[in-house]
Symmetry: C2
Subunit: 421 residues, 2 copies
């Protein structure tokens, strides 16, 4: 009698998916990993791709290289389109996949809160494609402004870069853009850099909400020093090709609005049919199971997990810990053991504000400045997949540190027609 090997399907190659796969690597199960790409994207460094510090290949790692030569693991590169929990089937655009256990780690996408014009005219920053679009567009704006000798108004519009959202993504992007501008200055001797403006817009009265007050203030000071104009208590109402309209009616002329003001879960989570929160996250049980579907686990950006009366934040450490807990619970289910309840351990958070500047908040350690930046760098290098990437990124950072150079300042739109606009 041969026992049937359980089939675990993991959707998503983000932090949650990778951690789940690693946790199940040596368990006697068949694993099918479903993702629409063939790589794990290291999202925390996406802002460095969008500002020409790093290249595409530096922050993306081929999924298959993580489970070489294992016959019981495979990647199924496809877009997951729906979940039929009753029949235990995952629908994809390349056909259906039956599962015994399903881990939904499909990640998040931009949340434009229903503002269609913002979706249409602003630049999201969740994928490699979006980050490259920002890079190409921002660099192109300098070329365009340099040719625009007649109209200061047009030049200023092209040279105004607006980041919306005062979380880590918005702060990091604004800081990195300010540094990119400093490099560009060397290359455009005929352009007046007083016409360049970088704005960070935040709806609440603070940036980096997870940080203590003094580090929030420190962050504001550093951004200001870098030339970023931070606009707190400011809400966006509308967007067009020519700029941004605020709730109070103010119009900010700009050709570049970068949206880092919110995320929502991938649509897949909502197709299970279980209750979701407003951001599309499945309200999971303490075991991370989806209510009514004990074989389905939702984790990371796809899960709404209540702890201490609040849902856990959509950050990488949550996805990592949830993935390991879900994998562990699947093993328990296979063995017929009692499942364990998940408890998130918060080790703190960090964000970088630019070269030599970061803030770190870990328990008693709450610091900002150069040392925090060194910690940030070291930890990000450790967390990157692949020794390769570590070396390349390490060298590029070192080079950037000593020379401020930005290797990736090339405009590589797929279609040349776009450059003519």
């Amino acid at each position: 009698m041969t026992e049937k090997i359980p089939h675990v399907v993991i959707v998503g190659a983000g932090f949650g998916g990778v951690a789940a796969m690693k946790a199940l690597k040596n368990v006697n199960v068949k694993i099918t990993w479903v993702d629409r790409t063939n790589y794990h994207l290291f999202q925390p460094l996406l802002y460095q791709l969008s500002t020409a510090v790093l290249s595409t290949d530096d922050i993306s790692f081929p999924v298959r290289a993580m489970f070489r030569k294992r016959k019981n693991m495979d990647l199924f590169m496809a877009k997951a389109t729906g979940i039929d929990g009753k029949n235990k089937i995952l629908h994809t655009n390349h056909g259906d996949i039956s599962y015994d256990y399903l881990i939904v780690a499909a990640g998040a996408t931009n949340n434009f809160f229903g503002m269609e014009n913002v979706e249409k005219y602003s630049y999201g920053m969740k994928t490699i494609q979006e980050a490259l679009h920002i890079r190409n567009h921002a660099l192109h704006m300098f070329e365009r402004a340099n040719k625009q000798e007649d109209s200061e108004e047009e030049r200023r519009k092209m040279l105004t870069f607006v980041c919306v959202g005062g979380g880590p993504t918005g702060v990091e992007e604004a800081g990195a853009l300010a540094e990119l501008v400093a490099v560009q200055k060397l290359d455009y001797p005929n352009l007046n850099f007083d016409e360049v403006s970088i704005k960070l817009i935040e709806a609440t009265d603070r940036v980096l909400p997870m940080m203590p007050d003094n580090l929030q203030k420190y962050t504001l000071d550093v951004l200001k020093k870098k030339g970023v104009e931070v606009m707190l208590n400011t809400q966006v109402a509308d967007c067009s090709e020519d700029g941004l309209t605020l709730k109070d009616g103010t119009f900010i002329p700009s050709r570049t609005v970068i949206w880092a003001a919110g995320v929502r879960a991938h649509d897949l989570a909502s197709t299970i049919g279980a209750e979701c929160d407003r951001a599309g996250r499945v309200i999971v049980e303490k075991t991370l199971q989806v209510p009514g579907y004990p074989e389905i686990f939702a984790i990371g950006d796809n899960a709404h997990f209540l702890q201490d009366g609040r849902p856990l934040p959509t950050v990488a450490p949550v996805a990592n810990q949830e993935a390991r807990a879900a994998a562990d619970n699947i093993v328990r289910m296979i063995k017929g053991e009692k499942l364990q309840e998940f408890v998130y351990k918060d080790y703190g958070s960090m964000a970088t504000i630019g070269r030599c500047e970061a803030v770190v908040s870990w328990g008693f350690l709450k610091i900002g400045g150069f040392f925090a930046w060194v910690i940030w760098m070291f930890l990000h290098l450790m967390r990157l997949e692949g020794a390769h990437e570590d070396i390349t990124v390490g060298i590029k950072w070192f080079w950037n540190f000593i020379s401020g150079a930005r290797l990736g300042r090339i405009i590589t739109n797929i279609r040349f027609e776009e450059l003519e606009k």
Copy 2:
């Protein structure tokens, strides 16, 4: 009385354009550099981008970083659309530019010799975009074949890669593809690699025509050892999404046909109105001037320069030497001196066939193998623009040398819809 500073316009940021700019850097002229991109592309390594060895940013260098802080030099990023030699005007999609002297170094594009289906269904390899298309498509074919469990015929079609053209580009591409396949083998334990086929098709009876006979034979041996099937005396008649039809009627099922069988000059050259050869190259005078337009110099892939009864080949050393000669003649014209006739000095040629294998033919030195490969590597690192690129590429090559790793095996189509095909 102020003397008017002559305005030199250079079209193209390839080898010719860069060499012309460098030759004129310290001359008292105003220089406007026109290119549709903002970077110099190191075309000899494009095949390494298309086969996931290197990244986009490794082989492209921002043009502006070459002439920092110089107010009398500027890049005008635009597509040059036509030349009005009578009125000394260059037309671009962003407006007209008047010149006193014009250097046409706009480079070359694929020559499909009028075969529309080949143009439509095969993959060219002259730009970053084309190289990335090849990379994305080839990697995607492995994912598709891995899912195609039912049909060996479909799988074989997906896993057959055809390079057309036995010049350096075709040979290098075929060799690099064979090595990419070896890496892929580790990642697809469920795929039968006997179904993979790499073919190199050449119309004449030899590859690398510029090499001596024994090195041509050596190249054929190395390609064979790497698993490349070389088909000499074989001409292409037609192409479709499903494969390639040869002149003798044979059909080769394949989803990937890479076209490296010919180039023709950029259309710009033909707009001058001077006589061109069949590949669109202007038949220039001994001084590199365009007949009838003494202020216009055509160089590199845009020039048909007769020497010893044959036109010079369209290779980088020719473009470099012609650029320096054209720049020198412009200086002579400004000074009212007699122009000099150009004579090309052929130092030989080289090509790589893969990791640890290359052929070099320089005067008496005619070798193939590891030492030739070391020379090839060293010279290519030297010729790359930017210390940055040298270091990154050097490390990637070293890593590739010891581990065979391919960092860039990620599929990054701009539109996810393409992945669904």
